[in-house]
């Protein structure tokens, strides 16, 4: 009995040491990785004509590291943006009235648009150095990540349960403490989910953000994106293949080392309090949790954090006095409101006028009409593609969702496919189109939805797997079969989930159109007529009047389609078909 006990303790000690080692390796590896890649930032920029990239496979690990660091840096920036911008919008009514619609617009501006407009500005920051170019790339990735994260955080802040807010006020938590103890934890699950989506978006634009060419400004940063750009330029299918393979590995590593632990960790912040589920697990998180060294290292950090709570403590009463005043003097607010609205109106009018003047300096009014027409072409393309993808993936998704064994295997695969930057596959498709002499107007189109169709599939799978067993049983019991079964049971049940997927896929496809409608293979250029190709061409030529025009028209299209088409459908789906 006694020896058994002792041996159990011994094995426990061994396992603790094992987890210590794993955790230390993970942490040290991270530090070395950060140090190495950030060392090169201050190096001078390669002159024009110099090649910084080689297609040798031996260079790939370094490129991957540098690209990953850029992605991480952009993610940190996005988080800072999220915590400040969204908090401001949620806490101040007036700020929210402006910031939230602004976010909506920013979300619909094509990501390439940000690059072309800001490249000169950032390059002037640190002329002739890598830093400036790095800033351009990081900012570009940031623009593909930040908006939806901020949106999700804002929405969470607005839906914090009242009783918890009351409890934290009644126990006199300072606003600072309330932010970290209540608001951030409550927002965490949705935020992590959006971080994963943002990361996919970032990978997608990695090529565009590392190999930037706007008019005469050509920037090539060492990284996997530039590697692929060069491979395309040199028609090297082997190099493209290698890049794809490396990318697969990188995404797997990211999943294992970053997102899986995050998802497992964030599970405790879910507000619904049921116990009988399988919580997500991660071996990395397990290692960090079980290691005593990590635990020891964390203690002083916790102390420091607690100290900040005490430091910000006296803010609580002041904040409360303010809310009390606000509710009293509601008569004063109205003229301030008018002043505020007036200021907004003036700013809007001035910027509208500025934009119009700027655009019309470079293009004729006729061309505005042309871009709107091109916008319609791209719109038709997006809708047809969504329809085709739906016809294919909805039945497949329903079938998978109803077979839990299949869903367990396929669901992670589809999420992985969604994370994989589909534009890495473009060169394969484009070389095929060139060789087979296909019509680019038709055959380039599918590339737009290559990466985004998975959102439809995995949302439908998720929807189908939530169809209650009782509902399926009654279908069998009443002999509901065939088309009737689809119409009455399957389609209504997955409809709200399908809508979520379709909205995401549609937005992503618009963004992808800039990359997909104009494709290069060596010196052959393929073009599908559309707004995306228009913007891409203007960017290559450095024609800012046309870039601004194209971006404005595309943003308008996306906003209008969202407001007039997707949102009403989405509300209908929520109202009518949401189960339970």
């Amino acid at each position: 009995m006694k020896t058994q006990h002792a041996s159990a303790r011994l094995s426990h000690r061994f396992s603790a040491i094992f987890w210590d080692l794993v955790a230390v390796l993970l942490v040290l590896g991270m530090v070395v990785f950060l140090a190495q890649t950030s060392r090169d930032l201050m190096q001078p920029l390669a002159g024009p004509g110099e090649t910084v990239i080689s297609l040798e496979p031996s260079g790939l690990p370094e490129y991957v590291l540098r690209t990953s660091l850029r992605m991480l840096a952009a993610m940190v920036l996005s988080l800072i943006f999220t915590f400040t911008y969204a908090t401001w919008a949620a806490k101040s009514r007036r700020a929210g009235q402006v910031l939230i619609p602004l976010l909506d617009i920013l979300q619909s501006v094509p990501i390439l648009g940000f690059i072309s407009v800001t490249v000169v500005f950032f390059m002037s920051f640190a002329p002739g150095r890598m830093l400036g170019a790095e800033l351009v790339a990081i900012f570009a990735i940031f623009t593909s990540q930040a908006w939806n994260m901020a949106f999700s955080f804002y929405q969470s802040l607005r839906t914090v349960p009242t009783e918890l807010v009351e409890a934290s006020r009644s126990f006199r938590l300072s606003p600072w403490m309330r932010f970290w103890k209540l608001e951030v934890p409550f927002a965490m699950p949705a935020l992590v989910w959006n971080m994963m989506m943002s990361m996919s978006a970032g990978w997608f634009f990695v090529v565009a953000s590392e190999a930037i060419s706007v008019g005469n400004t050509v920037v090539t940063l060492p990284g996997i994106g530039s590697y692929i750009a060069l491979a395309i330029d040199q028609r090297d299918l082997g190099a493209v293949g290698r890049a794809i393979a490396v990318m697969l590995i990188v995404i797997l590593i990211y999943d294992q080392l970053l997102f899986r632990p995050l998802v497992a960790w964030v599970d405790r912040f879910r507000f619904e309090q049921e116990a009988d589920r399988n919580p997500p697990r991660s071996w990395v998180l397990m290692a960090l949790r079980r290691s005593r060294w990590v635990a020891m290292a964390v203690v002083p950090l916790v102390r420091m954090w607690r100290w900040t709570y005490r430091a910000g403590n006296d803010g609580a009463s002041r904040e409360l006095a303010r809310t009390a005043r606000n509710t009293m003097g509601s008569g004063v607010i109205s003229w301030l409101d008018w002043l505020w609205y007036g200021a907004i109106a003036v700013i809007c009018a001035v910027s509208m006028w500025k934009i119009t003047v700027f655009v019309l300096q470079g293009v004729t009014p006729d061309e505005v009409g042309t871009t709107v027409f091109l916008g319609c072409v791209t719109m038709v393309r997006v809708f047809v593609l969504i329809a085709v993808a739906s016809v294919i993936w909805v039945p497949v998704g329903v079938w998978i969702g109803l077979h839990p064994a299949a869903a367990r295997i396929i669901q992670p695969v589809t999420q992985f496919m969604a994370a994989f930057p589909a534009n890495l596959l473009f060169p394969l498709a484009v070389s095929g189109i060139v060789v087979l002499r296909l019509d680019p107007d038709i055959w380039l189109s599918p590339l737009m939805i290559l990466g985004t169709q998975w959102y439809i599939l995995f949302n439908v799978i998720a929807g189908a797997s939530t169809i209650p067993g009782e509902l399926r049983d009654i279908g069998i019991n009443l002999g509901v079969r065939g088309w009737l079964w689809w119409r009455r049971i399957a389609l209504p049940a997955v409809f709200p989930f399908y809508m979520t997927g379709a909205v995401t896929a549609s937005g992503g496809s618009w963004n992808a159109s800039i990359v997909a409608e104009l494709a290069n293979w060596g010196d052959t250029t393929l073009k599908a007529n559309g707004l995306g190709a228009y913007i891409a061409e203007a960017t290559a030529a450095g024609d800012f009047h046309r870039i601004v025009l194209g971006i404005a028209v595309m943003s308008a299209f996306v906003v209008l389609i969202n407001r007039l088409f997707w949102r009403p459908l989405y509300i209908l789906a929520e109202r009518k078909f949401r189960l339970g």
């Binding site: 349960p161 009783e163 009644s170 126990f171 938590l173 300072s174 209540l182 609580a316």
Partner: protein, 428 residues
Amino acid sequence: MLDIRGVRKSFRKPDGSELLVLDGIDFTLGEGEIIGLLGRSGSGKSTLLRSIAGLTPPSAGSVIYHGNEVTAPPPGIAMVFQGFALFPWLTVLENVQLGLEALGLSTGELHRRAIEAIDLIGLDGFESAYPRELSGGMRQRVGFARALVVHPNILLMDEPFSALDVLTAETLRTDFLDLWSEGQLPIKGVILVTHNIEEAVLMCDRILIFGSNPGRILNEIKVELPHPRARLDPAFRDLVERIYVEMTTRSASVPAGRRTEYFPGTGIGTILPHVSSNSLSGLLEAVAAAPYNGEADLPVIASSLHMEIDELFPVAETLQMLRFAEVAGGDIRLTTEGRQFADFDTDRRKHLFARHLLTYVALAAHIRRVLDERPVHQAPWSRFADELEDYMPPAAAVQTLRTIIALGRYAEIFSYDDEKQVFSLDNP
């Protein structure tokens, strides 16, 4: 210790007019006293508790605690919530420590006091558990520990046992009372909001009975029974019966001249409670059957049907509004039509119900008349919702319309299409 002086609370409606929810509240909490605020939902007692806690300022009047006016949550007043309000991402220990951390205590002191409170409230062994792993009773114990750990003078309880099952609630009540009477709790006074009459009699030294629209104190009842109190003790039963009588007579005699009478259904501005035709016929059948034979004591029928007053009163009063029953003096007595209804089959029940609904419920008659007058016999939801919002807050208007739709559908006097949000005379 705590003075509530002339507290009044109103909310601004979208059209700018004021909606009064609390009026003329005056009372004092003395040392060593448990006061119960007893009333039905909508009587503003939870709002009053939040004003006392400093969470929402009163529109007029003041809350004085130890000589100072309460404008923000004061130290020394802690609160226990109906839905527990635990942070799901914190362990039991961390939840309990939360209030202390805001006080800025040292880590050692923090831990010591939290463990002390956890031991006191019977949570030892659960320190590292997350709320989702606990039963409802254990969760509310955490709620109590979290409130007590800051050593408050006054404990505010907002229906703390109403989310628990009967057995668990009883255990928590007696545990709390034991600690209280043994003097083990740091608190010197308690205010308990409840809609459970027996709970109020069991726990309180004084019960303030609240009326609705606007919320006000109707009566004050002193409970002088010695602790521990036994529910079956005749003196206890008498007191419960007395409060029932108090609450039923008062609710029937609403001061005249108010636009938003709860009862009886004279104007379309009457707020209809959330009741279904099933619960109406259920209560009719129960009272009509033996052993009541058409007349029942409300406390008796409440306990035999396992209904709390918050569930029983709305049903009973709707029956009274429909002239199927009379409620007075703590009793419910069926009218002739009420007895007939209980005997009838479905079709004849619907006819009788339709006749009474159209005759005695002004809103039903109003909707029917509008539909009859319009050439297409249709009217949108907003047509009536806007009208009702002149008399009541938007949420009450929605509830009233939902109830009238359910009753109207049962009586087949009109139909409603929820997708188009349209009332009509179609008979599908």
